[in-house]
Point group: C2
Chain length 209, copies 2
């Protein structure tokens, strides 16, 4: 009835060829390039290439942490479920504390969102871990503050791509300005989300194998 | 350290006020408007208002099906995990057959993707159900063909928002042209994804309660 590509390998090849042809990838290093391509692939927008910001040697830092079996800490269940476990190089735990029993009460006590309160529960896992924030600007802000205050140890790398109209662009600017030496990758502006965040982690996992 | 909104209700209110101020919502009916707003909210892009296409009385069709307890059939685990179960009005099952045991073999036999083959497993659930396709163009194409051929019964409504560079825009055009009387909502162009798809289902679920 319809004439369309059905072969998965052909679909991937044509997708990546389109991205190479249309996206402005020239400014990325060889290490960053496959990550940028996967971000663009996940959202279907070649213009997003211009919004990607890498900080420090995030690809090496994240792949080394993944190879060592460090956990991936997610702000949302959709991020967690977008991470493809068979790609992870060392049975890395993928954790999301958003729906932990005490997050709701902690958020009320701290007068913040559940997403921000959930970051507090990362304390025992965060040192050298990989952060994957794909939903809540308040989670990214809270993370940066908790690291700055010394309440949380430093992760190996931050994938910070919250989305929305209130604080998303601003929290990502804050990451770029106040990463405190932690390597990161982000998307400037309002767009972000669980799909691009999970795609970034999956791209890093492929590079770590 | 940073000055940002922390109150969830204030964040929602300011987000929706921004969407009302910046997005072109004039062409939507009263029924469609809250769905359009949630789609824009999920992706952080007010321009996406111009890409939304509603077909038939999709809000009434989908909310009636949800109220009757009909299942929601998803093409991807990320879509399934983005649907907020406490919003569903009648303990609606949320199903994803992508990782069923025989999907891989069926895809090989049918010479198509796993996502398309997974649609075949919807046969016993699809009549009057709500479809949520947020990833694979081939799943949407396959669905339209299987309904056209009479191999699958008609669902109550199709949320069809696959994403990508190969077939995404084209499969959504096919939905608009060949919906076969089934009410639908889609996003023209390459952009789509699990977040906007789940947000659409969640918006419909809120209206059904």
């Amino acid at each position: 009835m319809f004439d369309y590509l059905r072969d998965p390998q052909e679909i991937y090849a044509k997708s990546f060829a389109t991205i190479e042809a249309e996206a402005n990838l020239a400014r990325f290093s060889d290490a960053e390039r496959p990550v940028a391509i996967r971000i663009i692939h996940a959202c279907g927008m070649v213009d997003m290439a211009d919004q990607i910001a890498f900080g420090g040697d995030v690809v090496n830092a994240a792949t080394a942490a993944l190879s060592r079996g460090k956990p991936i800490l997610c702000d949302a269940e959709m991020v967690r479920h977008g991470i493809i476990s068979r790609l992870l190089p060392n049975q890395n735990p993928v954790l999301c504390t958003l729906n932990d029993g005490n997050t709701h009460d902690l958020a009320a006590r701290m007068e913040t969102t559940r997403s921000a309160a959930a970051v507090e529960a990362w304390a025992n896992h965060i040192e050298g871990a990989i952060i994957a924030i794909g939903n809540a600007p308040t989670a990214l802000y809270h993370l940066l503050e908790a690291i700055h205050d010394g309440r949380l140890n430093k992760p190996a790398a931050i994938v910070g791509m919250p989305v929305g109209f209130v604080g998303a662009a601003e929290s990502k600017d804050a990451l770029i300005e106040h990463a405190n030496g932690i390597p990161f990758v982000t998307l400037r502006g309002r767009f972000g989300g669980s799909a691009v965040t999970a795609a970034t982690i999956n791209a890093l996992a492929r590079l770590a194998r």
